[in-house]
Every structure is written in C-alpha cells, then in structure tokens.
C-alpha cells in the first residue's frame, strides 16, 4: 500500500522534464477512505516529541491519528465534525495541546486524545413575540390553533422565528401540533446555534506551541473568541451574514485581524477595538462576483478562489490586486510557509481537474497533476520533515508530499511575447487549376451567366411559390394559414410517427397548437388504402387544443395486405368551418411482419 517512490519518480521526472519539480513524493494510500475537508485535517506535535502526527476528523464521526505511515489511534466522535483545531492552553514547555472538534452547537475539547470538556455555544435571544406566543401556548393561555395563526403571522411579518416555531409551523395535522405543544410543556425555551467554522488565534507570542484560543463562527452571524482554556467567550463580533471561512493573523493581546468570507459572497474584516475584549467589524468589505470556496491570507494580501474558477488577490484594505482564471474551479487553498534563510510563503491551489499548483504572487511556479482531485490539504510538519503537505483525494485517498529543499520558489521566468501558435501558418486550401479555369469562364461570359441565372431564378421562384400554395391549400405544411377564413392565422403542428412491427401499428400523432388562441372541436382522421390497412377507429375528435400544449393521440392500424406491403397513410386534422384541413401529414409506413 505504502510506496517509497520518491526517488524513482524524481528520476523519471528528471528524464522527462529535464528538471525536478519542487514536490517529493513521500507516501500514498489510495484506500485510506477519508472523508474530510481542509479544516478537519491538522498536522500537530501531539506528544511533545517534535515528531508531528496527522490528525483527521473524518466525516463518518471518527478521529484518526496517523503516525508515520500507520494509523496509531482511532476514536469515535460524538457528532459530525465541522472543524478541528489544535490549541495550547498553558505556556509551559513540553505541554500537550488540546484538540477542539466542533460539531453541532458544541465544541468538544480533547486532551491526550480523551474527551475532556464540552463547550456549548451561548444561546441566542429569541424574538420576544415568538417567546410570548410559546409562553401562552404552553400555559394554555391560547389554543394551539390560535398560536399557530399568530406564529404564521409573525413569520409573514418578517420575524426571525426559533427552531421550535419553525418545527411547529411545519406540522400539518392538528393532533400533531397539539402533541408538539404538550411535549414542550415545562421545557425551557432555548434557541441554540451551530458552528459553521473554527480557527485558532495565538495569545501573546507567535510560536508553534504558544498559548492560543479558539475562534468560532456561528450560524447566527457571530464570531466568538474563547479564552485559552476554552470555557468562556472573551470577545464577540456580529457580522451581516453567516461566516463560512476565516483567516486569522496577529496576537490576541497585541493586535489581530480576522478575515471572514460570508455566505452572502462578501469578505468582511474584524479587528481588535480600542479596548481589550472589544472587536470591530471594519468598513472594508470585499464584494465577490460569485461564492467563495476557499480563502487564504499571505502577509497583507487575501487570496480567494471562487466558484467561477478564478483566483483573486485583494489587499487587506480591500483593493483588488489581480485575478487569474484557472482551468477548473479550485477545491482548496493552502499556504506553504518555508523557513530557510528567509521565510517564504507560496500559495498552494488544488483544482477540480486534479492539478495542484504553486503560486508565488500571481506567478505560477509549478503545476503537479495528481491522480485524484484534492478535496482537502494541510501544510505543515509531518514526522520530522518540516515542509510537508497532506492531501486528501475525492476518492478518500491520502497522499503526503514533501517540498524539496532545493526547490526554487522564486518567481518563475514568465513567458512573454506573442504565443507560439502565432507562427504556425493556417491551413488554407490551395486553389485548383480547375477553379482558375472556371473563374476565367466566369469573367468571359459574365453577362450571359447572369442573364441565365436571373431567368432560372425567376422560374425557380415561380415553381417554389406554386408548390408552396399547393402545400398551404392542402394543409400539408404542418402550418395552415387562416383555417376557416377568419383572418386569424392558426399555427397547428402535426407530428406523426409509427410504432410497432406489424401487423398492428400504432400511429402516434402529436398535435401542438402554436398559436395564441385555443382551438375547439377538431376532427382528426387517418386516411388509408382499405385493401392494405384496416382500423377500428379511423377518426377521433380533439375537444380542445390549448395553445402550446401538445396532445398525443394514438391510432391503431392493422396491416391486412397478404404480403405485408406498406403504403403511405395520411393523417388529417380537420376544421369544422372549412374544407381545407388545418394540418395534414403523410406517413411512410414500414413493411409489416406477417401474421403467424
């Protein structure tokens, strides 16, 4: 399962491309069957031995711990994980980090991979109108029916209802509603909210194992910052929409800034206020053209990929720096932070076509084609290798790649000038000798040719017009002109097809009225040679034909010819007011199978 293919692959690539890409292959497990997104994937030093492990909160309620190439532990989770964060609660050296896993309206905090503590999101204020109606209903001040009416009025009036009310309003039968109200008697009316995203923020200094705290985005538009122990909210901010993705920089005690992409397709910025414990939503709002699907922050720039398959970069102040069109929509974004002589940060973008690209600013440094579409990735230290990246594929595969120490992540030499295609001449077919001869003939006999052509054209117009008139008068155009001479143009289409092998055929006739007015009382009949076909019901009446509604009529025809020969059959849609049919169709009948 595990392959040590780093060296071989590198050599193959060397032969193929002449130079080695920045990625070294470390490990690939095609059947890891992991279902997780980027925020549920963390690389962390869990044991304090400077050897990082991979922690995965799987969507099928499992937490898995990968050490090296094997799963060392697996724990059942209490809920579907939304996000998983690792944070340090105390500043002492060699302290063990806590793991916070958000699910539903709780954050479950684990220590030593054992459940330790549960943080519940604070309850949401309930609309006073809603609250009072429930109070009256449970104390039987009003009947269930009256409560129902009041609640639906409140809903129509635009009030934000609690989940109780919404559940109640969705009940269809009276007894169900009464049972619901009964069940709620004596229960405290609380409205919980749920976690939508979660990240961490360092407290007072920036180090790998510095004290940090959880930052939680909730469904009721809030962003909460907890204290390092994860027991209480120390700071909160209200956004105009539901936060979905967050990128955090800075220290809580000094200065911090949270960039939040929200469900309304806008990016808001929250930063620390004047006094400690206060948060301010700044006026800088970045409006995106389409929904964002990933967000990353490098230095002063916000990188965001959107559903229309573009990668955009904005300055933290809201100014757009550039926008690139990707060959496929991005699936996730990551930041590769490489600390060498100087720290360098590159953007990792995984695309829907299985590509993983590396960007430095707007310059693409490298593109790697993976076997699978990457749906989650995490950059960090794995084992003792500092520059590693874990990828989860759509099929559940797990891949670990390392960044080569010799990789050059500086801006690649961008190709400038006109594209290479410009130098390839177009394939213009050369003109034959015949063509030249013919054009000479044209030049010599221009007048004659023109005259003959004009004469022929007149003749052709006449023939066409005559045939057209014939078609109209027989109603065969499928479109008839003014049936019944009422002046109005009716537009009835008749489309017939034959189904069956014989001797009994089904004639499927589709009649559509393309006009504006509806038509009534239309006789539809099939005309055939009686020595070849027989029908029990050769005519039907269509009582009403509404405009733009297709009516299908099935007529049965039996072939009675001794050798099963086929003959043309006409379907005619008549009109009570005129002898000219509204529409007619000629059907070529196939040869019939003989009756046994």
């Amino acid at each position: 399962m595990a392959t040590e293919g780093g060296k071989d692959e590198g050599e193959v690539r060397k032969q193929k491309f002449g130079k080695v890409g920045p990625w070294l292959h470390a490990w690939h497990d095609p059947v890891a069957s992991i279902k997780a997104h980027s925020s549920c994937l963390r690389l962390v030093d869990l044991n304090g031995d400077r050897s990082n492990i991979l922690l995965v909160a799987d969507d099928n309620k499992k937490m898995r711990v990968y050490k090296g190439t094997s799963v060392v532990a697996e724990h059942q989770l209490l809920d579907h994980p939304v996000s998983m964060c690792v944070f340090y609660t105390s500043g002492s050296t060699n302290s063990m980090p806590a793991v916070g896993i958000a699910g539903g309206s709780y954050v479950f905090i684990y220590r030593h991979l054992r459940p330790y503590f549960k943080f519940s999101l604070p309850c949401v204020d309930i609309d006073p109108q809603d609250e009072s109606i429930w109070q009256e209903m449970t104390s039987e001040g009003v009947t269930c029916e009256a409560g129902y009416e009041m609640l639906s009025q409140a809903r129509d009036g635009g009030a934000k209802l609690s989940s109780w009310s919404l559940d109640f309003l969705s009940l269809e039968r009276e007894e169900q509603r009464q049972a619901y109200v009964q069940a709620k008697k004596g229960v405290e009316h609380k409205q919980h909210t749920v976690v939508t995203c979660m990240e961490t923020m360092k407290k007072d200094h920036d180090a790998e194992d510095a004290v940090s705290s959880l930052v939680i985005g909730t469904e009721n538009n809030q962003v909460l910052i907890l204290d390092p122990s994860g027991s209480k909210v120390v700071c909160q901010a209200m956004l105009p929409s539901v936060p979905t993705i967050m990128a955090i920089t800075g220290l809580y005690d000094v200065e911090w800034r949270i960039v939040v992409a929200c469900r309304d397709g806008k990016i808001y910025t929250i930063k620390n206020g004047e006094s400690r414990g206060k948060a301010v939503v700044t006026g800088t709002v970045i409006e995106l053209e389409t929904q964002p699907n990933a967000l990353a922050r490098i230095e002063k720039y916000i990188y965001v990929t959107t559903m229309d398959g573009s990668l955009s970069c904005y300055h933290i102040k809201g100014r757009k720096v550039f926008s690139l069109t990707l060959p496929a929509p991005a699936t996730c974004l990551g930041v590769a932070k490489i600390s060498r002589s100087r720290t360098l940060e590159a953007l990792i973008v995984s695309l829907g076509n299985g590509e993983v690209r590396l960007y430095n600013g707007k310059h693409m440094i490298h593109s790697l084609q993976m076997d699978d579409v990457v749906v989650a990735m995490r950059w960090g230290q794995f084992g003792r290798e500092q520059n590693s990246c874990a990828f989860i594929g759509r099929s559940g595969s797990l891949t670990l790649k390392m960044m080569s120490r010799h990789a050059n992540l500086e801006k690649g030499d961008a190709i400038s000038g006109p594209p290479a295609e410009q130098d390839i001449p177009l394939k213009v077919p050369k003109k034959t000798k015949l063509f030249v001869e013919q054009s000479e003939r044209e030049v010599l006999n221009a007048t004659h040719m023109h005259r003959v052509f004009q004469r022929d054209l007149c003749k052709l117009r006449l023939t066409t017009a005559r045939s057209y008139v014939k078609v109209i008068t027989s109603g065969e155009a499928g479109v008839s002109m003014g049936g019944g001479g009422r002046g109005g143009i009716t537009n009835v289409r008749l489309n017939a097809s034959v189904v069956g092998l014989g001797p009994i055929f089904n004639l499927k006739v589709e009649v559509t009225n393309g006009g504006v007015a509806s038509l009534r009382d239309l006789p539809l009949s099939v005309v055939y040679n009686t020595s070849v076909y027989r029908s029990d019901r050769p005519a039907v009446n269509i009582p009403l034909l509404l405009s733009n509604v297709t009516i299908t009529v099935v007529l049965k025809l039996k072939n009675v010819h001794p050798e099963g020969a086929g003959e043309n059959v006409r379907v005619v849609l008549g009109n009570k007011k005129s002898s000219v049919p509204l529409a007619a169709a000629l059907i070529t009948m196939p040869m019939s199978e003989l009756e046994e």
């Binding site: 229309d308 066409t464 057209y468 078609v471 065969e476 196939p590 040869m591």
Partner: protein
C-alpha cells in the same frame, strides 16, 4: 417447330439467358413426368437460386435485433479508431459535413449497414427509427430472410424440395448435386440449419480438405450468428484454397464482431494475392469510411478508379469528399463524369446543382435543381427542396428560402435540417416562440444534429432562460464536443449561473 426442341435443352438455354421464370416452368413440367431426372432437378434448383440470389459480398442492412442485442463486440468501451461504434472523432468535419444518425459524416454513396451501427446505449425507439426517421427503418432479421424465401414460393405450385425429408448423407455423396442443393437451401429456403447439416456431411466426405464446403460451413455459421465458428471455418477454407469471395465472407464476419482493424488487415492481405481487384480496394475504402478516416478512404477510392475507371461508388464518394473539403469545382467534375456514366437520378442532379452553385457556375446551377425536382420521388424530394432553400439563403432571398424549407418539411415531415433552418428564419422575423418550437421539433427528430441544440440554447440564453440554455448546450456538446461556439456559450452560462448578481 418449337415442339420439337428438347424440353430440357430449352430449359438449359433459358437458364443461361436468365429467363428464370420460363425455365422453372419448363423444369416443373418435365419433373411432373419424370420426378427423378437429376439434370432437370439441378437446373430448376439453380434457376430458383439464381433468381433470388443476393450478392453475399455486399454489406447488409442490420436488423432491429442485431442493433439492440449486439453482444458480439469484444470491448464495451473500445479505444477510438478500433471499433465501428467508436470511430475516430473528426472535429473539423462535423461542422462542415452533414452527419448520419450515428454521428458519422455522410459518404457520397448510400449503402446499407454503414450508418446504422449502434451507438452505445441506443434505445428501442431509436433502433426502430432507422437512419432517417420515417423514411427507412431496420427490419427484423427474420423478416428480411423470410420474405426473400416466401416471395419465390408464392409463384410456385407445391413445394419443390421437402427440406425436412432430405437425406443429407445421400446428397453429400454426390458433390455436384450437393453444391446446388446447399445454395438452394441457403438462398431459397433460407434454412441455414439444414444447410449446415449438409455441409458438415459433405466436408466429412471430402476429408476436410475442400475449400468450398468449408466456406459454405462458414456462411451457415455466419447466418446462424456463430461468428467465431464462422471465422474458424473461413480461415481454414482460405488455407485450402485462396478465394476472393472467402476473403469477403471473412471480412464480413470481422465487421460483425466489431474488429474493423483485423478486417482491414485481412483485405490488405487479400489485395496482395488478388492484385488489381477493385472490389478488395473498395472494401478497404468502406472500412476506412466507417472509421471516419476520410484521408485513407479517399486514397483507396482513387486507387479503385485507377483499376476500374467506371466505379460509381468510388466516384460518388470522392466527389462528396471534395465537395465538403472546399473543392466544389473538383466535385463538379466527378459528378459530371457520373452523369456521363449514365447515372440519372435526383441525388446526382441535386449534387450537380450544389457543386455548380458553390463553384459559382450560376448559369447551370438552378436548371440542375429543376431536373432534380422533376425526377424526385417522395423520399428525396425533401432534400432537394432543402437545398433550394439553402440556395435561397445563399443569394439572400429569404422568402424563397422560407417557402422552400416549408415545402421540404411538408414533403418529408422528418426533415430536421429544414426545421432547424426554418427556426433560424423565424428568429430573423423576431418570432421567438415559433423559432423555439421549430428547434425543439428538429431536436426531437434528429438528436444527432448539434445545430438545433446550439440554436435552441442560444435562443434560450438570449431570452434569459439560463437553465434550459445550459441543458441544451450540454446536449450539443455531447453530440459535438469540440464545437467552439457551444463551448463559449457554456462558459458564459457557467459564469451567469454561479454569479451572485
């Protein structure tokens, strides 16, 4: 005087002069008197056989059952270019050249079997529709075979040979009689099982060394649908005696098995033994055509013309190739040559007219269409009117074009191309509802055309119905994956659909 002529001699003479009916009558008379006259019996059998003989080397129309229940193909997802159902895509041709229902460019010669090869996942409805819905449709296999058999039996009083009572072993001992009998069984009685019995007896008698019996065995197996057995017998027959017809039989078996490249190799090998045999080369050309390899097929057709300057099929295909590859003046020459060869039908005049029009020989163009119309029958009149409509569009006379397309539609209610063009003309008149209805009709009639799908998508897009536009453009791209305009429209639609404002 005539009474004095020996009746059996007369019958023989009539057989040679291909007066089969009279020959059969004469033979029946003699056989009534002396039922055991082997000479007369042989003559009658031969006359009956020759009367209904089908050239087995020609490709045949595939029946409904074969289309729907074709499980002989080896791979269900063959690589492009290795199977008839997944021919090489030729993107540039798609836009320039009309296609048949399987998405293959039209060749210049209408021949059975080449265009009705099933695409994967063909529905029963589609299978019954045939190439052009309404005008033709595949028969059931038995329908085809039985009808050939019954047609000859009707004229005949009483049964000539009671197949069930035949003692195959007795006949197998007399090779001359057996050879006549097996042909009779295959072509008149259409009873491959009995024929197989006779063949196996006969080949045993000959010590498994006779190419004739092995070939017949192969043919029997082929008719019974046992293609692998047929292949074995035919291969073995070729070892005993290299016959051109055996090569053709084997080639047919390979095409049924959907391994066209093997068939090609076989024909090339036959070409080495039978040099200057135009039928081999035309076989090669046909297979290239089926594989959409127009370059090689044109080469082969040219070679055919070198050996057989009067080959109509090769000429027609070359003409069509030239016409669609922007060489109407060359096509015109080929069509003129066809005319000199004595071909005089609607299609030819129609093509002549089109070639004249496109190579700007206007004085001749329209009179050609007139002649085409004069000769036209029900099944091709629609096409002529459609082309007149195109001429109308070409010279900017839209009223003429509109009328011509309308007539085309009325003559041939399934003429999807005309419906599509009517839709475009309706669009110019700002009659959007009618245009949409026209495109929808064209789409339902011919799902293999990308034009109505794209037009409908564009119309829907312009009217703001993005979802429907997206559905249609997606369908258009299934039919013609490289269509640039569709790709652009899809991109724009994607942009509009994911956009927030």
């Amino acid at each position: 005087m005539r009474d004095e002529v020996d009746a059996s001699w007369l019958a023989l003479s009539r057989l040679r002069r291909r007066r089969f009916k009279q020959c059969i009558e004469g033979c029946s008379r003699i056989l009534n008197e002396s039922p055991y006259d082997q000479l007369v019996w042989t003559m009658k059998a031969r006359a009956l056989t020759t009367e209904v003989y089908v050239d087995e080397t020609e490709l045949e129309e595939e029946g409904v059952a074969e289309i729907l229940l074709d499980d002989n193909a080896i791979a269900s997802m063959p690589r492009p270019g290795t199977s008839l159902s997944n021919p090489k895509s030729s993107s540039s041709d798609h836009a320039l050249r009309p296609v048949s229902s399987s998405g293959r460019p039209m060749t210049g010669f209408s021949r059975p079997g080449s265009s009705s090869r099933p695409m994967s996942g063909m529905s029963v409805d589609q299978a019954f529709k045939g190439n052009r819905p309404g005008t033709s449709r595949p028969m059931t296999t038995l329908g085809r075979e039985v009808r050939l058999g019954t047609a000859s039996m009707v004229n005949q009083s009483g049964v000539f040979i009671d197949v069930e009572k035949l003692n195959m072993r007795k006949y197998a001992a007399r090779p001359a009689l057996a050879m006549v009998l097996v042909e009779y069984l295959l072509h008149v009685e259409v009873n491959p099982r009995k024929a197989l019995e006779l063949c196996s007896e006969a080949t045993q008698k000959e010590g498994f060394k006779s190419w004739f019996w092995k070939r017949k065995l192969g043919q029997c197996y082929y008719k019974l649908g046992l293609y692998r057995d047929a292949e074995k017998q035919l291969r073995s027959s070729l070892k005993d005696g290299e016959m051109l017809l055996t090569y053709f039989d084997l080639c047919k078996v390979y095409l049924k098995l959907d391994i066209p490249n093997t068939a090609l190799d076989l024909l090339k090998k036959a070409g080495e033994s039978f040099r200057e045999e135009s039928r081999v080369i035309i076989g090669i050309a046909r297979i290239y055509d089926m594989l959409n390899d127009l370059e090689n097929s044109s080469k082969a057709y040219k070679m055919v013309l070198e050996y057989d300057a009067g080959n109509i099929e090769a000429m027609a295909c070359l003409a069509a190739n030239h016409f669609y590859e922007d060489g109407p003046e060359v096509a015109l020459r080929y069509y003129r040559r066809l005319l000199q060869m004595g071909v005089n039908n609607t299609e030819l005049w129609n093509n002549l007219g089109l070639s004249c029009f496109h190579s700007s020989q206007f004085d001749m163009a329209l009179s050609c269409f007139e002649r085409a119309l004069a000769l036209a029958a029900d099944d091709n009149e629609g096409d002529v009117w459609y082309n007149i409509g195109l001429v109308g569009v070409g010279i900017g006379d839209l009223a003429l074009a509109y009328q011509a397309f309308k007539i085309a539609v009325s003559v041939d209610g399934n003429h999807a191309e005309s419906y599509c063009n009517l839709g475009v003309l309706d669009l110019r008149k700002n009659d959007f509802d009618s245009a949409a209805a026209m495109f929808a009709t064209a789409k339902s009639l011919a799902p293999f055309l990308f034009e109505p799908l794209y037009n409908l998508a564009l119309l829907m897009f312009k009217r703001g119905n993005l979802e429907e536009a997206y559905d249609n453009v997606k369908e258009a791209l299934v039919v013609f994956p490289e269509h640039r305009e569709s790709l652009e429209l899809k991109k724009e639609l994607m942009g509009s659909l994911v956009g927030l404002r």
